[in-house]
């Protein structure tokens, strides 16, 4: 017999404790209640005479003791969720893959999570031969071993976090492979893998999208974008609450029809910025992890920007509508080294490096910034470091760049590249002064009319103001820039998160939703981990065929219920017969 909820040793300990407690209570000398009788005259005659003792009178005490021990023993065994070892076991080597997507946290009608049902099923499947257990997120978590206790302990160490890919080559191993899943996340499962389901339809309301963006037309104001979905057959009323730090900016009841998705845009004052948390109150659904979502509001941007240009109407207009900055346009001849704030050099550059932060837009060759080769014509925005504030969120697929200069970028950090590898955006920090270089002319091609244009300019300004970049990711392993020195969880459950470094790659395992802050030499990087997605939160639908549904979860839950029922029956019988003195 194996136990699905507790370890065998723990069950044995509890059982021993229960037997000891029951025995102690049974044999405890309880002071008998005093009953006044008129005379013991007749009672003495009865008690002192030799009476015929019935069979029940002889065994009554032993039977009572057996019942007193049996009832707590049965309850302890039931608590352990026992299963018959090998009852559903598979002969021969077995590989079990468990879906570790977040939807496996959904609650089943029997009160267990799908994950719990899956792990119990995995242990039940384990026969006498060696078993290897994998999850889609973690790979091998236990085995190969024939020791179920080892497998059980290994499964206790893992929890659902992200779908991950279906482990490669498992179907090629000897023996049988079984995949236990709820079918919410779709996997490319080899044909020879047997699929078992722990799915049972469950209603769920979720925040399926949440993000923050700056309102360029209002200084210090932001917009929160929230998408709420009700994956249920019945309408539902939930309360949407949005907090910025400890300040509540929104609280409103939202009526959701069946399978309705509601999108809301919520303007708000950023204030001092910080964590933005959206949550659904009163959802009372199968999956709690996606009832809240997080974002991060960077600190407010400051103002003074000097634009050195002959003429750049698109850029001038864009900066003019950004109420957060005060723009002063000057001709190149008017440029003086003195002054405060950020300076933008448009198709012009001073002969020596400026002593204040500067953005250089397609500058001509100057002594401190020369050309390395010929310019690339008709360049495309191919790739960028999405973790860097200066180029975050730029969709360059529709950008048409007429010409990208090939600058000598020694000491610079290229952030975006063309298809031919020509740097398009680079940054440099030298002597405490930061520079950003855009190697193409913003006035040529379709750049001024492309959606990427205001994003690029906004990102460059944000980088200079030291805003922490934000990434919104799903729970699971997150790839971070290699220069991240420390990663901390932000908020009430603050704490340091371990980093795994694999060559140039740094990976953090962020399984719990929340906001995490990474420390980098170039500044902080905020990571918002949100569980809710349209695909993952819809725990009412499964991609599995009905034939994949397995009865194993019901089978595992049956034995403990029988034990509890038997304990209740025995207890009731004892209570009834004892009170009525039937069996004595």
């Amino acid at each position: 017999m194996i136990f699905g909820a507790l370890s065998g040793w723990l069950v044995a300990g509890l059982a021993a404790g229960a037997v000891a407690a029951a025995s102690a209570i049974f044999f405890m000398k309880v002071r008998h209640p005093r009953v006044l009788v008129p005379s013991l005259l007749l009672w003495r005659r009865v008690l002192d005479e030799d009476r015929d003792v019935s069979f029940w009178e002889k065994v009554r005490k032993a039977v009572s003791y057996a019942i007193a021990v049996l009832v707590p023993l049965l309850i302890v065994l039931a608590l352990g969720r026992p299963e018959r070892a090998g009852a559903g076991g598979v002969a021969g080597p077995l590989t079990i893959v468990i879906d570790s997507s977040l939807s496996m946290l959904a609650e089943r009608p029997d009160g267990r999570m799908r994950w719990e049902a899956a792990t119990a099923r995995a242990l039940a499947l384990a026969g006498d031969d060696e078993v290897t257990i994998l999850t889609t997120a973690d790979g091998i978590v236990g085995g190969p071993t024939s020791d179920r206790e080892t497998l059980r302990q290994a499964l206790e160490e893992v929890a659902p976090s992200e779908p991950g890919p279906f482990p490669a080559n498992v179907g090629l191993q000897n023996g049988q492979t079984i995949f236990i899943t709820d079918g919410v996340a779709r996997y490319d499962v080899p044909a020879d893998v047997r699929v078992e389901s722990v799915f049972s339809a469950a209603d769920n309301a979720a925040i399926t999208a949440f993000d923050i963006r700056r309102d360029f037309s209002n200084a210090g104001r932001y917009e929160a974008y929230v998408e709420i979905a009700n994956y249920a057959e019945a309408p539902r009323a939930v309360t949407l609450i949005v907090d910025v730090g400890s300040r509540r900016i929104y609280e409103q009841q939202v009526q959701l029809a069946a399978d309705e998705i509601v999108r809301q845009s919520l303007p708000f004052e950023a204030g001092d910025g910080g964590v933005v948390r959206a949550r659904l109150d009163g959802a009372d659904d199968a999956l709690a992890a996606d009832d809240e979502a997080f974002a991060w509001v960077a600190s407010a941007r400051p103002d003074a920007v000097t634009l050195v240009t002959r003429r750049n109407p698109p850029l001038e207009e864009l900066l003019a509508i950004d109420a957060a900055v005060t723009v002063t346009r000057i001709e190149p001849e008017q440029y003086r080294e003195s002054g405060d704030g950020l300076v933008i050099f448009d198709r012009w550059a001073p002969q020596s490096a400026p002593r204040r932060p500067a953005i250089l837009l397609a500058p001509p060759p100057v002594p401190w910034l020369g050309l390395a080769g010929a310019a690339e014509r008709n360049a495309t925005w191919s790739r960028a470091d999405a973790t860097h504030t200066a180029v975050r969120g730029i969709d360059g697929r529709t950008l048409r760049i007429d010409e990208a200069g090939d600058y000598a970028l020694e000491g610079w950090t290229p952030l975006a590249f063309s298809g031919n590898g020509t740097p398009l955006v680079a940054v440099r920090e030298s002597g405490g002064v930061s520079y950003a270089l855009v190697t193409f002319d913003l006035t040529r091609g379709n750049i001024a009319n492309d959606p990427a244009f205001p994003v690029l300019v906004g990102d460059l300004l944000a980088w200079f103001e030291g805003e922490a970049p934000v990434r919104v990711v799903a729970p699971g392993a997150v790839r971070l820039p290699s220069d991240v020195s420390e990663l901390r969880r932000h908020g009430a459950r603050a704490g340091s998160i371990g980093l795994r470094r694999l060559g140039d790659v740094t990976i953090a395992d962020l399984r719990e939703p929340g906001v995490y802050v990474a420390e980098r030499p170039a500044g902080q990087l905020a990571i918002a981990v949100n569980a809710g997605t349209r695909a993952g939160s819809n725990v009412r639908a499964t991609s599995l065929a009905s034939g994949d549904v397995d009865a194993a979860p019901r089978a595992t839950s049956g034995l403990w219920m029988w034990l509890v029922a038997f304990a209740l029956v025995v207890f009731a019988a004892e209570f009834y017969t004892w009170n009525r003195r039937i069996t004595v």
Partner: protein, 292 residues
């Protein structure tokens, strides 16, 4: 305890007499036939005239027929001593109403019947010895003193009928009707006491006061039984088997008492306290030929 009989019940009691299987010598003229020959109305016998006899009692018709002087004898009607022995031991506190309350009511009713017919009635309470007693009283006017006496009784002490009766017999020599009202749960047995009464030629009558709890104890499980009189304790696991054994012992106790009474021609009435008191007096006692 409150002793109160309504007028209708008292009127019914006045129609009743305490029956005695024997004729006892009284002290005063009353309604009972005595062994004495005297100035009663009922003719008893003739005897030869002797010097000094009252001429008025000479039967002249007999002289005419027999030519002898015969004197007419009449029965003397005297009072009858009635002794009511009320058990006031601790065991009489049992029952609802308590056996002592019930015994006091029985004693009061019998007392009233006796007083109404000019018998000399005395109440004696006993437990492990004779405890208290009233002087022998005559006439209905004494009933309230009897009531006051009965109302003052409290259950206390052990039971010892033999000691109590022996003490009574040593002090009161006049024979009469002895009514023993008790639950007869006497560890030393009831026979010695009753034998003493028989030896002194009292007309003995037993009123056995019982309660349902005596027969069917309303207890179960592991209990510690405490004897109300002695304070002795016994730990008992009261099972149905044991309860049945007790009930058998209880029935044997009743049978033994009844058999003893039958053997020595002693009147016996069992009066469960749960039964209405008036029914007991008006029906049970009459059926038991104690009252008529």
């Amino acid at each position: 305890m409150s002793l109160h009989f309504d007028n209708e019940f008292l009127k019914k009691l006045e129609y009743l007499h305490i029956l005695s299987k024997r004729v006892f010598a009284g002290q005063f003229r009353a309604e009972r036939i005595s062994k004495k020959r005297g100035s009663g109305l009922e003719f008893a016998d003739h005897r030869p005239y002797a010097l000094g006899d009252d001429f008025r009692h000479i039967d002249w018709r007999a002289y005419q027929r027999l030519d002898r002087l015969l004197l007419r004898m009449f029965e003397e009607e005297q009072d009858m001593p009635v002794y009511l022995f009320v058990d006031t031991s601790r065991s009489m506190a049992e029952g609802s109403p308590s056996k002592l309350d019930y015994a006091c009511h029985v004693a009061a009713a019998l007392c009233y019947i006796g007083l109404a017919h000019l018998d000399r009635v005395a109440i004696l309470t006993w437990k492990d010895k004779l405890a208290a007693e009233t002087p022998s009283r005559r006439g209905k006017g004494q009933i309230f003193r009897i009531f006051d006496f009965l109302q003052s009784l409290e259950p206390d002490g052990r039971t010892d009928l033999a000691e109590s009766i022996k003490a009574f017999c040593a002090r009161r020599k006049q024979r009469g009707v002895a009514v023993v009202i008790s639950d007869f749960l006497d560890p030393s047995g009831h026979e010695a006491g009753l034998n003493a009464l028989r030896y002194f030629q009292h007309d003995v009558f037993l009123v056995h006061v019982t309660s349902r709890n005596d027969e069917e104890p309303a207890v179960a499980g592991d209990i510690r039984m405490v004897d109300a009189e002695t304070g002795d304790m016994r730990d008992v696991e009261l099972t149905p088997t044991l309860l049945h054994a007790y009930q058998r012992a209880w029935r044997k106790h009743l049978d033994d008492l009844q058999a003893y009474c039958a053997r020595y021609n002693i009147g016996y009435v069992r009066t469960p306290v749960e039964e209405p008191f008036e029914d007991t007096i008006l029906q049970v006692f009459r059926q038991g030929r104690f009252l008529a």
